[in-house]
């Protein structure tokens, strides 16, 4: 296990745990990350993302569990001897050093030759598109530029794994969107494994190969972005990623799929996500707003297993889509997103008070046992 470089994984975590007093910041997580992968750790505030990264970087000693970098057990190896580098949310650029000196810092600590340092720093500056900024001081840079210096400073060391703790958190939306794209490009260019911490689900979806969703110190699910979105394994994941309609109910019929009664006159059919669910079990039913179609009440609809009569309560025009809030008598209202494919003056949107049919397929209905 400890012959370096023979593991197929750049990073392996086994049963990692860290407690602060009574708080279980990280509560036994395991994870494998492949070479060159872009993995996001996603979760709400306080779920232990930063603590996990800090243990990988070596700033924090775990109470239990192990970390392997390319098969080498880290144990108590100090941060300066780990082949891992961090991009800090606060940038943490050295304020008394120029951009060049900031980026060169890690290479100087390695005691590389002067020309080699200059060459690698220059190449890095080109990659992050900051050529010509060598002699600036950090306070003479914008937030986005500082972030790129922070990135260059970490990447220039060519670490096995690059850790990024909400690196775009402090940037405004526009710069943030551009930096997301930049980060993806840089990731492709350098081919280094990225572990990216964020609490922005959209960002995680856009950027990652895989996402690890964390909640209260544990990993709820690790999967490709597609599976995380389409096949969430728990209500938490379904709720946290994207928008969803959730209805509480009770299983009334079971088989390959289940029927769930949610309220007086509503029975929804769906697929249980894990084990078979016996009749009488309390469950949560989840359906995404964009999976729902709408039809006129007088027409008949075959092929859509769920077909509910409802009334339009609210219409919100959102530009590329239209959001409808429907009353279906199932506890919560039903939210439906429809692509705005209408071309003026062809048709009109539905109006509040109108009666509609809401339709969606069995496969789009996820049923989670109540925990």
């Amino acid at each position: 296990m400890n012959s370096a470089g023979r593991s197929p994984y750049d990073l392996e975590i086994r049963g990692l745990a860290k407690t602060y007093g009574a708080i279980r910041a990280v509560d036994g997580i395991s994870l494998e990350v492949e070479r060159g992968e872009f993995l996001s750790i996603l979760g709400p505030s306080g779920c232990g993302k930063t603590t996990t990264l800090r243990m990988i970087a070596g700033f924090e000693q775990p109470d239990a569990g192990e970390i392997y970098l390319q098969g080498t057990q880290m144990g108590t190896t100090p941060p300066y001897e780990r082949n891992v580098n961090t991009v800090f949310q606060s940038y943490a650029l050295f304020p008394h050093m120029t951009v060049f000196d900031n980026i060169a810092f890690g290479l100087r600590m390695k005691r590389l030759a002067r020309e080699q340092i200059a060459r690698r720093v220059k190449r890095m500056l080109t990659i992050v598109e900051l050529a010509g900024y060598e002699q600036r001081l950090p306070h003479q840079l914008s937030g986005g530029e500082q972030q790129r210096v922070g990135l260059a400073r970490a990447l220039v060391k060519e670490p096995t794994v690059l850790l990024l703790d909400e690196p775009l958190g402090a940037l405004d939306l526009k710069v943030r969107k551009r930096m997301q794209y930049e980060l993806k490009r840089i990731h492709r260019e350098v081919g280094i494994t990225f572990i990216y911490v964020t609490h922005d689900q959209e960002e995680a979806l856009v950027m990652s190969d895989r996402i690890a969703v964390m909640n209260q110190g544990r990993i709820e699910q690790v999967d490709t972005t597609f599976d995380i979105y389409e096949r969430p394994q728990s209500l938490f994941v379904a709720d946290f990623i994207g928008e969803s309609n959730t209805f509480a109910g009770e299983v009334v019929a079971t088989g390959e799929d289940v029927s769930v009664r949610c309220g007086e006159r509503v029975v929804l059919r769906g697929r249980p996500v894990s084990a078979a669910l016996p009749v009488g079990v309390q469950v949560d039913v989840v359906v995404r707003p964009e999976k729902i179609g709408m039809g006129r009440p007088e027409t008949s609809h075959a092929g859509e297993e769920n077909c509910l009569r409802g009334w339009v309560r609210e219409v919100v025009f959102q530009g590329t889509s239209v959001k409808y809030v429907l009353d279906i008598g199932a506890g919560n209202p039903l939210i439906v997103h429809q692509q705005n494919s209408l071309s003026y003056p062809q048709a009109e949107f539905l109006k509040p008070g109108e009666e509609v049919l809401a339709l969606w397929r069995l496969e789009s209905t996820l049923v989670f046992p109540r925990r």
């Binding site: 970087a57 700033f59 100090p78 941060p79 300066y80 891992v84 580098n85 961090t86 800090f88 606060s90 943490a92 650029l93 050295f94 304020p95 008394h96 810092f105 890690g106 600590m109 390695k110 400073r153 970490a154 060391k157």
Partner: protein, 266 residues
């Protein structure tokens, strides 16, 4: 919100003659003695008091030729340097200790700053008694140095502590992340960033020691420092030479303090 209130206050103060007079009197009160001292250091007379008999630099010439004075000055200067080096080194180390959490931190902090508020005479008496108890000879680089270090240490500590307190720890983590061990992190990141505070502390400790009188008076023994010398001079034969010395000390102290402030602001 505050802007109109401030300008209204200013307008009111500007129109108020009593307030204006008060201000003038206050500054007179604060600076008149010093201005008086400086003016009469140029007086061409043997008395340090009016009337004014014309301009001369002879008192300054005498100052430069005064051997006892030179010895006292060198004593004060070397004592100041020693004091500054010792108390800033100790103060910096203690400031670093306060980065860790430990039991009774607040209490220890208060204890450290207490000497700032202790009357000089208390320290003077205490050290005199201590020296007597151990049958030691009081002197410049024994009892006086100890007194000065005790006196200046809280100031040095406080200046460095303030600097270190608002220091962003993630900078040190970044350095270690990039391969610098603890020593190199200190050398390349921590120290360069607290250096202005350390320099300010050195300047302030030196100035405090250079001007110190009460504690020194108790523990100096047979030697002399500049303030001691000036005092004895005034008590025996007072000429405008004393004024000249005073003016020089004022000038030196002011420029030191100014320099220290520049570093504090950095």
């Amino acid at each position: 919100m505050t802007e109109p209130i401030l300008s209204r206050l200013r307008a009111k103060a500007g129109g108020d003659a009593t307030l204006y007079a008060y201000g003038v009197l206050l500054y007179l009160f604060l600076y008149a003695p010093i201005v008086y001292l400086i003016i009469f250091s140029f007086n061409d007379a043997t008395a340090t008091t009016p009337p004014w008999r014309g301009f001369t630099l002879q008192w300054y010439r005498q100052v430069l030729q005064n051997v006892d004075l030179r010895v006292a000055f060198l004593n004060s200067a070397s004592l100041g340097v020693m004091t500054a080096v010792i108390s800033v080194t100790l103060g910096t180390l203690m400031a670093f200790a306060f980065r860790w959490r430990f039991r009774g931190k607040g209490f220890v902090f208060g204890l450290l700053l207490l000497p700032m508020l202790t009357p000089g005479i208390v320290l003077g008496v205490a050290l005199t008694l201590l020296w007597r108890f151990f049958r030691l000879t009081p002197g410049l680089f024994s009892s006086t140095l100890v007194a000065h270090v005790i006196y200046t240490l809280p100031f040095a500590f406080l200046i460095v502590f303030t600097r270190l307190h608002r220091f962003d720890r993630s900078l040190e983590e970044a350095a270690m992340d990039l391969g610098a061990d603890h020593i190199r992190t200190f050398r390349h990141v921590t120290f360069p960033l607290i250096r202005p505070g350390v320099i300010a502390a050195v300047i302030f400790a030196f100035t405090l020691s250079f001007d110190e009188f009460i504690r020194t008076f108790f523990v100096i023994g047979n030697e002399n420092t500049l303030p001691m010398y000036v005092w004895s001079m005034i008590m025996t034969d007072s000429t405008p030479q004393t004024n000249a010395i005073g003016a020089i000390i004022v000038g030196l102290s002011l420029s030191w303090i100014l320099l220290g402030t520049v570093f504090l602001r950095r």
